[in-house]
């Protein structure tokens, strides 16, 4: 087999794998929406503000993507981008969870 053919075959295989994983990612995505739907309808209306700050905090899980960008030892443009994202996401993670906790501490029963 000549090198071009091998390359084409590899690329085709990679594309098939990518499509396969795209479908499984999509499956996870749709199922997670369903989980979110049922869980969130169960949230009591009185706690809708904490719900927003908690979801805000957990959406900062994109810090995971940022950490991978900052990870390499050599500094480049991506590392700077990743660093900025780490800072922003950290503000949210700490801020979001702490302000939620502050709010939730205040919800007390009678007496």
């Amino acid at each position: 087999m000549d090198p071009t053919k091998i390359m084409q075959a590899t690329e085709a295989a990679a594309a098939t794998a990518a499509t396969g994983s795209l479908i499984s990612f999509f499956t996870v995505f749709v199922l997670a929406i369903f989980v979110g739907y049922y869980v969130v309808w169960n949230v009591t209306a009185a706690l809708h503000s904490p719900l927003m700050s908690v979801t805000n905090a957990i959406s900062s899980v994109i810090i995971v993507g940022a950490l991978i960008a900052v990870g390499p030892t050599d500094a480049n443009f991506s590392k700077i981008m990743g660093f900025l994202a780490v800072v922003l996401a950290s503000v949210n993670i700490f801020g979001g969870f702490i302000v939620s906790q502050r709010m939730l501490q205040m919800f007390r029963k009678k007496g």
């Binding site: 499509t19 994983s21 995505f29 997670a32 929406i33 989980v35 979110g36 869980v39 969130v40 949230v43 009591t44 209306a45 009185a46 706690l47 503000s49 719900l51 927003m52 700050s53 979801t55 805000n56 905090a57 957990i58 959406s59 900062s60 899980v61 994109i62 810090i63 995971v64 993507g65 950490l67 991978i68 960008a69 900052v70 990870g71 390499p72 030892t73 480049n76 443009f77 991506s78 590392k79 990743g82 900025l84 994202a85 780490v86 922003l88 950290s90 503000v91 949210n92 993670i93 700490f94 702490i98 302000v99 939620s100 502050r102 709010m103 939730l104 205040m106 029963k109 009678k110 007496g111």
Partner: protein
């Protein structure tokens, strides 16, 4: 850490996040839920740091320290009345972070295993473009929402001719750019997408009025989730996809609840132009007269009542009247009066805003009720004390099909024996409509600042 172990740890983190939301179904379990969320985040970060991708830690530690300090200090110092703008500001950060991560991915795809520069998988490019687009819209949209809530710009809707056409054109341009970018991996196309999305974020939120902010804040909450999803697809990271979907659907449900609370469709809110800043002076009063009362009158009426229902609104938050209100409730309860609080779904500037403020003032949450729980109680109440609310009590929503708020679910306050309405002046509410409640025989208007009036009533209790 092996790929399998990393995947399992991410799954564990995702389960923690689901449990965190599950905990919010009742105040008793909510604190534990929030802690579970923190644990999930710690697992997610720890797992990533232990993976083979991360080799140097200096920048990471510095970034987390800087961001964490800013976040902690802000969260500890913020006043509860300023919560809506804080949440809006936080949303903007998530949006911007999503843009940064997408950019990092584009310039160094090898680190994420999605190809090499100039040869990134098309699917990844599409996902990247969508993630960064939603992120950028969330960023500027949230900045506008923040500025409106903080009072930096007027809360009045900003409308100009051709607005919707302009937005539509920009939207179509964005789709074309995404198609160009996905087929060419052109940096130029990428930055044009970012620029366009930033402009679009401003334009979408500017025409939406101040009191529609509960919907806007919920919507941006949802967007920040979808942005995380887009990044998750790009990186092939299930944790990001799951979390993004949870947040996205949560924000969408809140938007739906808020829209339903105003009997308006989502598109009606988004297209904007509804409402005025402080309410225009009521024009059509004619020869109708209002009965005006003093703090002494109010305290006398309430002390002789058997059952008082308090209806708080945004005005209570503005005047910071929640503590005085709780003290008033305490005195009344001591005198044997039954006191409860009625919350309309869209009271305040974010979902659940009133509940948090009352909780802050130590009002027990089992005295606070939602519209559908308490609406049948008004007919048996002796006094309704309306403080800082207006449109949500307007009977015209039930009786006048020509009213802009017709069909909106409202609190049936007019069924109570006496309605005490605390208000600064005769201006109409946000919707710009006259409230016929003012002119009813069983209504007594208490003109003044919400906090001052409540304090004066407190002093008049003998």
């Amino acid at each position: 850490m092996s790929e399998e172990l990393t995947g399992l740890a991410y799954l564990l983190a995702a389960i923690c996040f689901i449990l965190a939301l599950r905990g919010l179904s009742s105040p008793e379990t909510a604190r534990r839920g929030n802690l579970t969320g923190m644990i999930g985040m710690a697992i997610a970060i720890g797992t990533t740091l232990a993976s083979a991708h991360v080799l140097s830690y200096t920048w990471i530690v510095a970034g987390i320290l800087v961001g964490g300090t800013i976040g902690t200090v802000t969260a500890l110092k913020i006043q509860m009345t300023a919560l809506p703008q804080l949440v809006a500001a936080f949303h903007s950060l998530v949006g911007l972070a999503a843009v940064f991560v997408a950019t990092a991915t584009l310039y160094a795809p090898e680190a994420y295993g999605i190809g090499a520069v100039g040869n990134i998988l098309t699917a990844s490019l599409v996902e990247m473009a969508i993630g960064t687009f939603i992120g950028a819209v969330t960023f500027t949209g949230s900045i506008v929402a923040f500025a409106k809530l903080q009072g930096l710009v007027s809360g009045a809707p900003l409308v100009f001719p051709g607005q919707h056409i302009l937005n539509a054109v920009l939207g179509i341009a964005a789709i074309v750019l995404i198609a160009w970018f996905s087929t060419s991996e052109s940096y130029q196309a990428y930055w044009l997408i970012v620029a366009l999305a930033l402009i679009l974020g401003f334009l979408i939120i500017l025409p939406i009025g101040g009191a529609d902010m509960p919907v806007v804040v919920s919507m941006l909450n949802s967007y920040s989730g979808w942005a995380a999803c887009g990044i998750g697809f790009t990186l092939g990271n299930t944790l990001l996809i799951i979390t993004g979907a949870l947040v996205g659907s949560s924000g969408a449900i809140l938007s739906y609840i808020m829209c339903k609370g105003m009997n308006r469709s989502f598109f009606n809110v988004i297209l904007g132009g509804f409402g005025t800043e402080e309410g225009v002076a009521a024009a059509t009063q004619g020869d109708k007269t209002v009965r005006q009362g003093s703090a002494e009158d109010a305290s006398f009426i309430m002390q002789n009542a058997g059952k008082v229902i308090v209806v708080p609104g945004y005005g209570m938050a503005v005047a910071q009247a929640q503590h005085a209100l709780r003290e008033m409730g305490d005195v009344l309860k001591e005198a044997g009066v039954e006191v409860s609080y009625a919350i309309h779904p869209v009271a305040g500037r974010m979902p659940g805003h009133m509940n948090v403020l009352l909780a802050e003032a130590n009002v027990p949450y089992d005295e606070v009720f939602e519209l559908e729980e308490i609406n049948h109680e008004f007919s048996t109440a002796d006094v309704v004390y309306i403080i800082g609310a207006n449109d949500v009590t307007n009977p015209a929503a039930k009786t006048d099909p020509t009213s802009p708020i017709y069909g909106m679910p409202i609190l049936d306050v007019e069924k109570a024996q006496t309605v005490l309405f605390v208000k600064r002046g005769m201006a109409s509410g946000y919707a710009g409509v006259d409230n016929e409640l003012f002119f009813r025989d069983n209504t007594m208007m208490l003109f003044g600042d919400a906090k001052k009036m409540t304090e004066e009533i407190l002093q008049s209790f003998g």
